[in-house]
Amino acid sequence: MTAILEARMLGMTYGRRRALTECSVTIPPGRMVGLVGPNGAGKSTLLKLACGVLTPTSGSISVLGRTPGTGPEQLARVGFLAQDAPVYANLSVGDHLRLGARLNPGWGQGFVERRIAALELDPRQKAGKLSGGQRAQLALAVAAGKRPELLILDEPVASLDPLARRAFLEHLTQSATENGTRVILSSHLISDLERFCDYLIVLVASRVRLAGNVDQIIAAHHRIVCTRRDPGALPAGLEVVSAEHAEHQSTFVVRSDGPLPPGDWVTQPLSMEDLVLAYMGTAESGIRSATQGDGGAR
């Protein structure tokens, strides 16, 4: 099995602005991947590099073992749903499905028809007249309809209300299950990713801060509360992700590759959201090597 995505020192600059810096990550096969990070962190850039809309200015990237966007075969293997789910406003829902059918050899007409019926979309309706949620659903139906091996979605639910968001993610789950499609989904809503993904990448200020299997990430991170002390006073083998100091006590989020060594501290539960926020909050405090989770699985 080839890795879903393999980036080596991947970099992308727009003029003088760095959108992505020395990004090295290997996503093992079979994962549902969540990409999280603050706005402007480079999530869209990474995803556009993965589908081949952009070509990197440095480093290399391969998706499903091949350079992205290199030909019709690779395009057929990777689906992409861009931010704000662009559709042709003056084309009808039915026209979009015909577009997908004509431009994709692997198009699953029956699958898409079932989806559209389940969504209660009128094929004659102009796409420009759809609500935001319906438009995103239509764009997803077209992207999933070509039955790619990997479907990449760039903040598809960002502008949707909670109900539409849930419906969209259900649609996505069903599509992925039915066609055996792997998914990379970016969002700044960690709760959406938590439900959906088993692999997580945290991107902060153009760099990968964390990448790994969700359960391993959770197992390796702890929040400890102890009397006030310097991070340096913690035992070796604990990597400090974030530190907060009150008058008499300190709270650390730490990563430990083995089990947490015993100490004079209280361990508190750490949710995925807390963990991700801890990484996001430390964007300026230097660069740590990305956790590779189960690393070289290939």
Partner: protein
């Protein structure tokens, strides 16, 4: 891809077909009338010996529609560049739909190739049909005027408009890709298209082929066809005369009246003949009957001549094809640039 292109542009194609149908209906109806009057006029004027006046009347009668039709054929490529060319890629980039199109199982090179070639073909055919209609409709008038090299007559007839259409369309697409926004691309497309048209018409076309030089003597025969004869008020000014160039040719330059050694003749030297036929000094000679034939006869013994350069009538098609090819080559260059830029474009 062809289906998508058709689906996206069928409204524009239907609009073009409507315009073409309306133009064809108008041209067929009035063109038949025009032809009818032309043959009738030609048959009758021979007997009255006044074909010049009769055909002039016909030209005057149809001058309005002719100018309007020429304007339409001249404007059509510009409109195509603005409304078909500029939004072709820029519209997709503006709305983000290129990300939808480029993530189907079709490379963006093929996406562009199909769109570009289908619509370029539609542009050329649309303008070609308009030009064909006008060329057919105006052929009696063109035959009567004998002037096929006039700006309007040349730019709005036969094959040259095909080149303009291809160029304007490719220009619109290329600028749309450059600006990535439709509106500025439209404005700049129009500005550049007009500038290139003016430049080629006024600056390039006269030099496309070497002109033919000729020396026309001033005598009774030539002067009887002269349109104008001017002398200066003083005795030492130049003398100019509009001698006719060979029939149907494009007159590019005409010297003053020269004597046998090639020196410009001074007014004083022709004054005796002038006063003999026109009386008062300072007047200008006017063409028409009885014309300046007698003045020419009087001047014949002085061995005067006028140097002309012109493009012969049979150069018309050569110039039409060269200009079409020139615009076609420009369109091709723009298309190549468009492909290269699309491949490198950062979505």
């Amino acid at each position: 891809m062809i289906w998508l292109t058709w689906r996206q542009f069928r409204t524009q194609i239907f609009a073009a077909l409507t315009v073409l149908a309306a133009a064809a209906a108008y041209v067929l109806i009035t063109g038949t009338q025009l032809r009818h009057s032309y043959t009738a006029d030609l048959a009758s004027c021979g007997a009255q010996n006044d074909c010049f006046g009769v055909l002039n009347g016909l030209q005057d009668q149809y001058n309005g529609p002719l100018q309007l039709a020429e304007m339409l054929v001249l404007a059509a490529p510009g409109l195509i560049g603005i409304f078909w060319g500029a939004p072709l890629v820029a519209g997709e980039l503006e709305r983000g739909t290129h990300l939808l199109a480029w993530n189907q199982s079709v490379t963006r090179t093929r996406w562009l190739a199909v769109k570009l070639s289908c619509l370029a073909l539609a542009s050329v055919v649309t303008v070609g049909v308009l030009s064909l209609l006008l060329t057919w409709w105006a052929s009696p008038l063109d035959a009567a005027s004998g002037n096929r090299f006039g700006t309007m007559a040349f730019n709005a007839r036969d094959v040259a408009p095909l080149g303009y259409a291809a160029f304007a369309f490719a220009l619109g697409v290329a600028l749309g890709l450059l600006f990535q926004r439709t509106l500025p691309a439209m404005a700049v497309t129009l500005a550049i298209f007009i500038a290139v048209q003016v430049l080629v018409t006024a600056g390039v076309r006269p030099h496309l082929l070497p002109a033919t030089a000729a020396s026309v003597p001033v005598n009774q025969t030539t002067m009887s066809q002269a349109i104008r004869f001017d002398r200066s008020d003083a005795n030492t000014g130049p003398v100019t005369v509009d001698l006719p160039a060979p029939s149907g040719s494009w007159l590019q330059s005409e010297s003053e009246v020269l004597n046998s050694s090639g020196r410009p003749v001074q007014t004083g030297e022709i004054l005796s003949c002038w006063t003999k036929y026109f009386g008062q000094p300072g007047a200008s000679g006017k063409g028409g009957s009885p014309g300046m034939g007698p003045l020419g006869a009087c001047l014949a013994s002085d061995n005067l001549h006028v140097d002309l350069t012109y493009q012969a009538a049979d150069r018309y098609w050569q110039l039409q094809w060269i200009e079409t090819a020139l615009y076609g080559a420009l369109a091709l260059l723009l298309a190549v640039a468009t492909f290269r830029r699309t491949r490198r474009l950062r979505g």
